[in-house]
């Protein structure tokens, strides 16, 4: 049996039955990482020793008998902007090249509490700014389905690790699509939870009103297992909230009302993507679901509003990397020069571009016209979703307007890179949960169906996604 082929649930059952040990499970994944990482470059750091120690502990737990938590002994990967105590955490930036995390992020603490095995830290666009994982200071991750193409971003390393069978599941972070886009490009399942459902403590802050940590996995069930392990109120993150009591909602396909926003199927979408996503929606309809055309009239303004709000928040959050408090530092004569040199050389091009964009939008004379206007448009985007959800339970869209593109194709034109996020950013502006799951392929290139749900109704998304998974 090849242990890297398993799902989390299958691995859990295997461990319980003692078909194999957690050490064997861990070693097979570490071996696979060593074989593939050179070409895929999903991992920035491999934590062999601590992973094997955690696996050993899980085996002791199995030997003692009794209840085995579902994630005990399960090898997982963590995006390198989430802290794992004692392991380097670089955000794929030169400015944090040698930064070692002094504590565990709450999500990591929760995984470890169940006995999960953290294999290592995965590559990303520097500080999660990007849609292709090409903005990493340490080199791009490649799509395991086609090594000449990008895995999507910014959680490209996590998605490639799962797609390349180098981990049974992974954590990513999603500010404007950074879990869902790579899940789509790599043919795996990724969830951006409702804002506040998962603690951000120990996640390097990028755009705080948009960031959420979420799971990337092979199946809907696996994504649900990881989501349930990491979600819930955390006193260390004041924006996390206690999850509301979930009504006992069971999917009855004939009662499911699915919204399809007409603004998502317009110029700019790859015809192949449109065809496959529409046939996925048709499958729900044939199974008895009610398909309703809905309108989200401010869709075309969501992306420009996002590219004001996101850089504005980023420019404030990244002020802490000043060459004094953390890592990379250039020693210069004046303090101003320490800042200019450390940040100028420590940050890559995209990070500096966003900091400048945000600084401009927040500067005197432009604040009203850009930042405050964008915040008002954000309200409009939220109202659109509120209106749509009066009529439907979930909304189906493509995750991305395009298929995985070639490495280098968009990197020199930032606007063309930003446009890849056109179907995902509105969800972060609104704070809603959304999942991307595989819905077909063009040649060997996978593509994703995005299921958008209502606040804290991740359970509905999971059930609707699992239904489609069984159909296909």
């Amino acid at each position: 049996m090849n242990l890297t082929e398993l799902t989390i649930n299958q691995a859990h059952e295997g461990l319980k039955r003692k078909d194999f040990s957690a050490l064997e499970l861990c070693r097979e994944h570490l071996d696979n990482i060593k074989n593939k990482n050179k070409e895929v470059f999903a991992f920035l750091e491999i934590a062999d020793d601590s992973a094997l120690a955690a696996a050993k502990k899980a085996d002791d737990l199995v030997a003692r008998g009794g209840d085995l938590p579902i994630l005990a002994g399960i090898p997982l990967a963590v995006k390198d902007n989430i802290l794992v105590e004692g392991v380097k955490c670089t955000a794929a930036s030169k400015i944090l090249e040698n930064y070692v995390a002094p504590y565990d992020a709450t999500v990591v603490k929760r995984l470890k509490k169940q006995g999960a095995v953290i294999l290592g830290k995965t590559n990303l666009d520097e500080f999660a700014m990007g849609s292709s994982t090409e903005n990493s200071a340490f080199g791009p991750t490649r799509n395991p389905h086609d090594l000449t193409r990008v895995p999507g971003g910014s959680s490209g390393g996590s998605a490639a690790a799962v797609a390349g069978k180098m981990a049974l599941g992974a954590l990513g972070s999603d500010t404007g699509g950074s879990i869902r886009l790579p899940a789509s490009f790599c043919g795996v399942v990724g969830l951006k939870p409702t804002y506040g459902a998962v603690s951000r403590f120990g996640l390097m802050a990028f755009a705080s009103s948009l960031d959420q940590i979420g799971p990337i996995a092979k199946t809907v069930e696996d994504a649900k297992i990881i989501y349930e392990a990491i979600s819930g109120k955390d006193k260390m993150d004041s924006t996390s909230v206690p999850l509301p009591e979930i009504e006992n909602w069971k999917l009855k396909i004939e009662n499911l009302r699915i919204g399809v926003p007409k603004e998502y199927f317009i110029k700019g979408i790859d015809p192949e993507v449109e065809k496959i996503v529409k046939s996925a929606i048709k499958k729900y309809e044939d199974a008895g679901a009610k398909i309703v055309e809905v309108s989200l009239p401010h869709t075309e303004y969501a992306l420009p509003a996002y590219y004001i709000i996101n850089p504005s928040e980023a420019s404030a959050n990244l002020a802490r990397y000043d060459g004094i408090k953390y890592g990379f530092s250039k020693q210069e004569k004046s303090l101003l020069d320490v800042y200019l040199k450390s940040r100028g050389e420590g940050f890559g091009t995209e990070v500096r571009r966003r900091i400048m964009l945000g600084t401009y939008a927040l500067s005197s004379g432009y604040y009203e016209a850009y930042y405050r206007r964008a915040q008002r448009v954000r309200t409009k985007v939220i109202e659109d979703f509120n209106n749509a959800f009066k009529k439907v339970d979930i909304i189906l869209t493509p995750t991305s307007p395009v298929l995985p593109f070639k490495i280098g194709e968009r990197i020199d034109d930032p606007l063309s890179m930003y446009l890849v996020d056109v179907y995902t950013v509105s969800i972060n502006l609104a704070g809603l949960p959304a999942l991307s799951m595989p819905c077909g392929k063009v040649g060997k290139l996978p593509l994703g169906l995005q299921i958008i749900g209502q606040f804290f109704k991740e359970n509905q998304i999971f059930e609707a996604a699992a239904f489609f998974e069984k159909l296909s």
């Binding site: 004001i308 320490v338 309200t379």
Partner: protein
Amino acid sequence: MISKKEVQHIAKLARLGVTKKEEEKFGNDLSAILDYIEKLKKVDVTETRETSHPTSIKNIMRADEVSKFEKKLIDGHLKVRSILR
């Protein structure tokens, strides 16, 4: 259009070093992005309130406790880089 001079000004406000060669590239990039963002002017937001945060929570407090600090102290002090000369 963002001029080189404006790039220099923004970069200084943001405490970012930018080389002469980069000034032009950043100027062009920022101009293209801002042109695209101009679209926002088409939305009537006169009656619309601002959203700075997707959930309506406020004033969530916890006790302000000092965490255990593992860094080595020198005579009870923490050593950092000098910022005053």
